[in-house]
């Protein structure tokens, strides 16, 4: 019997399997991330950390819709100084960590990234879906700004840097190329799609912030298309994210060109066992179809 390898490498990181939690999903404390790792994730991703603590938006911060969820958490996070303590614990437990981060100015991006990097994280994930970056507006839809921020961060840290892209753009390959030119080691595709939901009885928007981001199965076809297009546009590896719930979704993303995967909303519907479920399904799929490792699937559908 051949040995099936779920272990893989992405942007210089060696992981026991390709499935991780998505940023902002349980990434607020070291103890929760440890649980995610114990439940079978290949690496863990933190909440997006900023320079200063943020309380986030008032509730309601989530609204269920057909096929998914809209959230407007408002990037609550304890601030980078505080969070170094949580990273310390994760490092002591030897858990591979990707630290997600954001800033409100270019300098803030660099400052937060440098601090996280000194704390010994394994990689960084730059969240460019944050709404108000000074002098830029919505960072994620401006290729020039994405390149500048990526370059600035890469200039100051020596960790693998993933840039997480927003799907709220007319041409995602343009942003992907900008991040690649800025020196990104990989891309995470994608963040949530801007959306809203209203209550017909209350006759008002459900989210206190009015709009939020759509995640879950409803996002998947869009996110998968993004991964497909990005794969054809850049050389750097992609972490696929958006609506992944079962091993079939995972295989689709791999075939479309993702090298690794992130899971968020499915933790609501499947529970934390989703990491084991997807990995077991992936293993059987590889076995039954005569593959020896997950990496053999990456981008395979582009060859047909």
């Amino acid at each position: 019997m051949v040995e099936i390898r779920l272990a893989m490498e992405i942007g210089g990181l060696n992981l026991r399997n390709p499935v991780m939690n998505a940023a902002g999903i349980l990434g607020l404390t070291a103890d929760l991330l440890r649980r995610v790792y114990e439940e079978g994730a290949g690496a863990v991703v933190t909440k997006s950390i900023g320079l200063k603590p943020r309380m986030g938006h008032p509730n309601p911060t989530v609204a269920i819709v057909e096929g998914g969820l809209i959230n407007a958490m408002g990037l609550p996070n304890p601030g980078v100084e505080y969070f170094l303590g949580e990273l310390e614990k994760l490092r002591a437990w030897d858990i591979p960590v990707i630290a997600s981060f954001f800033g409100e100015t270019l300098d803030e991006f660099v400052e937060v990234a440098s601090k996280l990097s000194e704390a010994g994280v394994d990689a960084l994930e730059l969240n460019c879906s944050c709404p108000n970056v000074e002098g830029v507006g919505i960072l994620g839809s401006d290729p020039g700004a994405v390149k500048r921020v990526t370059e600035a961060v890469k200039g100051c840290v020596d960790k693998p840097l993933f840039v997480k892209l927003s799907p709220n753009v007319s041409d995602i390959t343009e942003i992907a190329r900008a991040a690649e030119r800025g020196g990104a080691d990989g891309l995470t595709a994608v963040n949530t799609l801007r959306a809203t939901a209203l209550s017909v009885e209350a006759r008002r928007p459900i989210l206190s912030n009015v709009t939020g981001g759509l995640s879950g199965p409803a996002l998947k076809p869009v996110a998968l298309r993004c991964v497909w297009e990005i794969y054809e546009a850049v050389e750097i590896p992609i972490i696929g994210c958006g609506g992944i719930t079962t091993w079939r979704d995972a295989v689709e993303y791999l075939l479309a060109g993702a090298s690794a995967l992130q899971v968020g909303t499915a933790i609501m519907t499947r529970g934390l066992r989703v990491f084991r479920e997807i990995n077991m399904g992936l293993r059987s799929y590889l076995e039954e179809n005569g593959f020896r490792g997950v990496s053999e699937l990456v981008g395979l559908a582009h060859e047909s």
């Binding site: 990434g27 929760l32 989530v62 609204a63 969820l69």
Partner: protein
């Protein structure tokens, strides 16, 4: 997911059937909801009076009619206690893991609004033929919630403790609980109320080798196990709790009764 509107996680509008003022600043709001009807004692819902914040509340009645029992402490809870018949609230849930039945002669200890999830638990225990004893604690006799209803259900198995001694035992319910535990032959312990009280009762139960369940509160945002804001140790209070058993509590002793996360995710001392 064509049935997404039927998911417990989805918001739905309910009309308030009536509001009963239990004591000054404490009101019970009754409504009908198909999913809450089938909830377990100890589960909670997210309640959103439009225009205010959405906040977690335990179900204090489970059945054809459901209810929440609200203590007015801040803007949203004050709004809730000021609502009346016919007013609309948005709810989602029920969420989390409720109480499970243990033993045949359990001791239940409720402090303040902690009686909210305990009342349906007492009802369930009685309907299953268990013999529960309840200590109902409050600051003063006027704040003893559901007193008449519980007296009817429990008779002499209802004990009262008030901090000011205006009725029943004078002093904290946890102290009275220790005394009853030494006298009676209880085989399980349940507690809901201020966390310091629950921590004292937890220690009392552990010392006597009795199984225990308590219901915890933490700051909640998503209530669906995703955001992590309600974390205590490796657990999410919204999904793995709110009811914790002794085994779970043993893993979070550095936080239980001591610390909680603020809305930004920073661990801060609990003050009650």
């Amino acid at each position: 997911m064509s049935d997404w509107r039927m998911r417990a996680e989805a918001h739905r509008a309910v009309r308030i059937l009536r509001v009963v003022e239990e004591a000054e600043g404490f009101s019970t709001l009754y409504f009908r909801d198909a999913l809450c009807r089938k909830a377990q004692p100890g589960q909670f819902i997210m309640v959103w009076p439009p225009g205010m914040e959405e906040v977690p509340m335990s179900l204090s009645t489970i059945g054809g009619e459901s209810s929440i029992t609200v203590k007015a402490v801040g803007l949203t809870s004050r709004r809730l206690t000021s609502l009346g018949e016919g007013d609309l609230i948005m709810i989602r849930g029920p969420f989390g893991r409720g109480f499970t039945l243990m033993g045949e002669k359990p001791l239940l200890v409720a402090g303040g609004t902690g009686v909210a999830p305990m009342k349906p638990l007492v009802e369930e225990m009685l309907s299953r033929g268990l013999k529960p004893t309840l200590i109902l604690g409050a600051r003063t006799r006027d704040r003893l919630l559901f007193l008449n209803r519980l007296r009817r259900l429990l008779g002499s198995k209802l004990h009262i403790a008030t901090d000011d001694g205006s009725l029943g035992f004078s002093g904290p319910a946890s102290k009275y609980a220790e005394r009853l535990l030494d006298e009676g032959c209880f085989d399980a312990v349940y507690a809901c109320g201020p966390e310091a009280m629950m921590a004292a009762i937890y220690r009392a139960a552990e010392r006597r080798g009795l199984p225990i369940q308590v219901s915890l509160e933490r700051y909640m945002k998503c209530a669906i196990g995703l955001c992590g804001s309600c974390a205590i140790g490796p657990y999410r209070v919204c999904r793995d709790g709110p009811v914790f058993n002794g085994e779970m509590l043993r893993r979070v002793l550095d936080e239980f009764g001591r610390r909680h996360l603020d809305p930004s995710g920073r661990s801060t001392p609990l003050e009650e």
